[in-house]
């Protein structure tokens, strides 16, 4: 049998740090970084006798996430303790939610490889606290505990095993990220670990109804490693099965450098978390009114923006999809369009040139360094003929390097377009004189030759000549 005979089954447990100002059970700041153990208090350091007080904002943000992903919101929820020992977990239990999560039975939609809409169901979304961090010294002699992150609020979004490929997994996670960004409950900075996923992978023969044994890759924090990790794991599992082996249910660590997975713990360590309701916290009871109120105040979600882009801006389906995939590109589009009134041009710039540069630089849309005003001005300068499209592209590169007003950039660089017919005519005559062969070709009916001449003129003016005037003058001169 070959790879094509297997079906891949994937489920994701996505952890997103919530962007509340304070931690989930105390009033310490959630801010990333800081000197070790400076964003801490007796509560998040688990000093004896301290008690947690649930941050109501955390509940609100989780409910928002639930509503934005079509979940049912529990009117009656609670916090449970998940007990295990680890130095980054100061209470020796994590306050999480076990059997009564805040949100259940939701879904998000992605496009499968045939471009068809596909629902990925969500089992649940629950709230919990993050653990601290261990810093190991370079000699491996000692580890230091930093509790700044201990108690930062998280939501865990658990999907059903509905994902069938690495590509779908990436699309699903991009969708989740986009939704969380739109509703502003998480900054989803994967490089800072504020969005990370545990990926469960199994394979089974096509047509089989039972799931295969799954493995879990922990704490994946880039799209690239998720895709690579899944592909590796799928190949590995199929190979094991093809050789008559059995998949062990285990927890794995993906190593980006070697491009393979490693087993994290041995089976003897199978954890029994001894979940039970946290007696220090009262039940979370939500009224219909509370939930309605959050629902009514949800920001506009990507789906609704997408429809609006079709109607209001007359964009194509493809354009609308791509622009709304990220809150940042969508916001950039809307704000720039408001200023320059040229939705088509804004859309083109974002989807072609900006996307190309982001791709080259391996940047995400939220890392775009310039403002919507900058982009709008760039388009206006082209529309007015102050600069050519070609210069526009150079300005964009400059905006990524050293963002400032495009008018300023072209002034400093001397990129203002030459529109003076007299000046351009001189250049045209010079080029005609220097290229008799091309002139002859043109006169012999080879219309293409004029392109070469225009190109030469552009080269001469470093792209600053107004292309319309240049064209017009060449035609006139060559007809003589």
């Amino acid at each position: 049998m070959s790879k094509e005979d297997y079906e891949v089954v994937i489920g994701l447990e996505t952890h997103a740090e919530l962007s509340t100002k304070t931690k989930i059970f105390c009033s310490c700041p959630t801010e990333f970084g800081g000197e070790p153990n400076t964003h801490c208090c007796p509560i998040c350091m688990a000093m004896p006798g301290t008690l947690p007080v649930l941050n109501e904002r955390v509940v609100e943000y989780a409910v928002k996430a639930g509503l934005a992903t079509n979940c049912e919101i529990s009117r009656n929820s609670k916090n449970d303790r998940k007990n295990y020992f680890y130095p980054d977990l100061p209470k020796a239990y994590q306050i999480s939610q076990f059997d009564k999560p805040l949100c259940e039975k939701g879904y998000v939609e992605i496009e499968d490889e045939n471009g068809e809409k596909k629902k990925i169901r969500l089992t649940r979304i629950h709230i919990e606290e993050d653990a601290g961090k261990l810093n190991h010294d370079e000699y491996g002699r000692e580890s230091l505990v930093d509790l700044n992150r201990a108690g930062v609020p998280l939501i865990e979004i658990v999907s059903e095993p509905d994902i069938r490929s690495a590509d779908e997994a990436e699309k699903y996670l991009r969708k989740i990220k986009s939704i969380l960004e739109y509703i502003e409950v998480s900054d989803c900075k994967m490089q800072e670990g504020s969005l990370r996923a545990d990926v469960n992978v199994s394979v089974r023969k096509k047509g089989e109804t039972k799931y295969g044994t799954r493995t879990e890759m922990k704490n994946m924090n880039s799209f690239r490693s998720i895709v690579r990790g899944i592909e590796y794991e799928v190949d590995r599992q199929i190979e094991v099965l093809e050789n008559g082996g059995k998949i062990e249910q285990e927890t794995l660590r993906w190593d980006d450098v070697s491009g393979r997975t490693f087993s994290m713990r041995d089976k003897e360590d199978a954890q029994d978390y001894r979940y039970f309701p946290d007696p220090d916290l009262v039940a979370i009871k939500l009224s219909n009114e509370y939930i309605e109120n959050i629902k009514n105040n949800l920001p506009e979600l990507p789906e609704s923006r997408r429809k609006r882009y079709l109607d209001e801006y007359k964009l194509t389906e493809k354009e609308a999809n791509l622009l709304t995939a990220s809150k940042y590109t969508s916001n950039l589009f809307e704000e720039a369009t408001k200023i320059c009134n040229n939705p088509k041009a804004v859309s083109n710039w974002i989807m072609s040139d900006i996307a190309k540069i982001l791709n080259e630089k391996e940047m995400e849309a939220e890392q775009i360094p310039f403002t919507a005003e900058n982009l709008a001005e760039l388009i206006q300068l082209i529309d007015k003929g102050t600069i050519s499209n070609a210069i526009g592209k150079k300005v964009l590169v400059e905006l990524f390097e050293n963002p400032k007003a495009p008018s300023k950039i072209i002034e400093e660089k001397g990129w203002v377009q030459i529109s003076d017919e007299g000046a351009i005519k001189e250049i045209v005559l010079k080029i005609i004189e220097a290229n008799p062969q091309s002139v002859a070709d043109y006169k012999a009916g080879k219309d293409k030759a004029i392109g070469f001449l225009v190109g030469q003129a552009m080269k001469e003016t470093k792209g600053k000549a107004n292309p319309q005037i240049l064209n017009k003058l060449f035609m006139e001169e060559l007809k003589k």
């Binding site: 007796p42 350091m45 688990a46 000093m47 004896p48 006798g49 301290t50 008690l51 947690p52 007080v53 649930l54 303790r81 007990n83 020992f85 130095p87 100061p90 209470k91 020796a92 239990y93 505990v145 029994d272 001894r274 979940y275 039970f276 007696p279 220090d280 916290l281 009262v282």
Partner: protein, 489 residues
């Protein structure tokens, strides 16, 4: 009468009339501690020097009227499981032998706001697990009535210190009887308030859903005064309930006419010592003479209360005590080469046998495969216990029982037999399971002169009813005038 024999409300009166000064009072207690501590062994930490300093400051501030508070300058003792900033909080455990909390428990803050003077931290069973204070890592506290007997537990240091006049009053904590039972053994008054009336913030947790802080005092009026200080909602403890601020001394009417008292017959059956039973029956008659309406009834769920209690309390403890792992604070083993060793050896060496027993029990009942049979079932029984009490309180204002089936037992008599030790809690645990308020007051002595305690249980937040009934009884029998600790050797 000597200073140390006075109750707090009597001291308060004398301070007000300038018959006594704060320094005189504090000195009297310090002298008493110096005299009796070698016999009674009630303190883990004494703060006598600091107390004298504070007494002087308070006295000055009172003169300049910077402090106008009437209770300012009254000494107090605090059980060693309530966090005190800058002073060791050991829970009588090797694990926390040198632990100094960076913050004050809410009750400690409240006591400080009243300018009470902390004379020291009082001995207890390790992490409040025990009924005799023999499980303290540091010392065995003795019963002031007979030094060969236990003071009860776990707040044995608090009850013994009050009985021996080493402090005028003290704070204890009660998870299954830890205020009431030692109060009964030592012939003093111990009140466990309704769960949620007093903030638990800063009380080192044993079993979070059962723990409650309360007063241990010489008489009922003092109990009401101390409850006034410590009761009230605390934002830092979401299980503390928002209730109206009350003055609990207002309810002490010395009148129980028409008060309906229910006597659950299960608490007077097998296992109850005959002399205890006899004194309790006399007390019941006394209530009838005072005009109360007494009726026997059945509270048959009581039989399951002890088992339920030990499952819930141990389950919560196994999780609450996880933080004592040798990483951030507390005892760390010297003997380790990897992380697992730190955990295993620090906890093996740092905890005593009883604490380990309960952690293991609690871990077991929460384990997958056993959770439903034990923990879940215990929670279901807990609901039934609440329901049965609710039914009883439809008929009665107060439920009356013995506080403990026996008087104080001999030192070392039960410390090696956990099951027998657990039976000392049989009359008190159901009150914690239901979250109700309960008070223990002395009602007589046995043939050896050891005090016998009577427990009055009230409905939720009806501390006033049990305080008044206890007060009325106290006035009628004058226990404190008739009997005094004898320090028998």
């Amino acid at each position: 009468m000597e200073i140390i024999d006075l109750t707090v409300h009597e001291l308060q009166e004398k301070l007000k009339n300038k018959e006594l000064t704060v320094t005189e009072i504090t000195k009297a207690y310090i002298d008493r501690i110096n005299e009796k501590e070698k016999d009674v062994q009630a303190f883990v930490t004494t703060l006598t020097d600091e107390a004298l300093e504070k007494a002087k400051t308070i006295e000055e501030d009172k003169e300049t009227e910077k402090i106008q508070n009437e209770l300012a300058g009254i000494p107090i003792g605090i059980k060693d499981n309530m966090c005190t900033k800058g002073v060791k909080t050991t829970c009588s455990s090797k694990m926390l032998e040198n632990f100094v909390s960076p913050y004050d428990a809410t009750v400690v803050e409240k006591v400080n706001n009243e300018n009470l003077i902390n004379l020291g931290k009082l001995n207890m069973d390790e992490f409040a697990m025990g009924a005799s204070t023999e499980y303290s890592y540091f010392k065995k506290t003795k019963n002031p009535w007979n030094l060969n007997k236990v003071p009860g537990g776990s707040s044995g240091g608090s009850a013994a210190a009050v009985a021996a006049n080493m402090v005028p009053w003290a704070l204890g904590s009660d998870t299954g009887g830890s205020i009431r039972q030692p109060s009964a053994f030592c012939g003093v008054v111990g009140l466990k308030p309704t769960y949620g009336l007093v903030s638990r913030y800063g009380l080192v947790a044993f079993a979070s859903s059962l723990d409650q802080i309360g007063p241990i005092t010489k008489d009922v009026e003092d109990s009401a005064i101390l409850l006034n200080i410590i009761a009230g909602h605390d934002e830092k403890d979401t299980t503390s309930i928002k209730t109206e601020k009350k003055d609990y001394t207002k309810c002490l009417k010395n009148d129980v006419k028409g008060v309906k008292i229910g006597i659950p017959k299960e608490y007077f059956g097998e296992g109850i010592n005959a002399e205890v039973k006899q004194e309790l029956e006399k007390s019941i008659k006394k209530y009838e003479e005072l005009g109360a309406v007494v009726e026997e009834f059945s509270l048959d769920i009581a039989e399951y209360a002890l088992a339920t209690y030990y499952i819930i309390a141990c389950a919560e403890a196994s999780s609450n005590l996880g933080r004592f792992d040798g990483i951030r604070y507390g005892y760390r083993t010297k003997n380790y080469s990897n992380l697992k060793d730190i955990y295993r050896n620090s906890r093996s060496e740092g905890f005593g046998a009883e604490v380990k027993r309960r952690i293991i029990l609690g871990t077991y009942v929460l384990s997958s495969g056993y959770y439903d049979a034990y923990y879940k079932k215990a929670q279901q029984v807990r609901t039934l216990v609440k329901k049965e009490f609710a039914k009883a309180f439809e008929k009665y204002d107060i439920i009356l029982t013995p506080t403990s089936p026996t008087v104080a037992f001999d030192l070392n008599a039960r410390s090696t037999n956990p099951l027998e030790m657990y039976l000392a809690d049989i009359c008190t645990v159901s009150v914690n399971i239901a979250g109700l308020p309960g008070i223990s007051i002395p009602c007589g002595v046995d043939s050896e002169g050891m005090p016998i305690g009577m427990q009055l249980i009230g409905n939720y937040f009806e501390e006033e009813k049990i305080l008044n009934a206890a007060y009325t009884f106290e006035k009628a029998i004058n226990f404190r005038e008739k009997y005094k600790p004898e320090y028998k050797k």
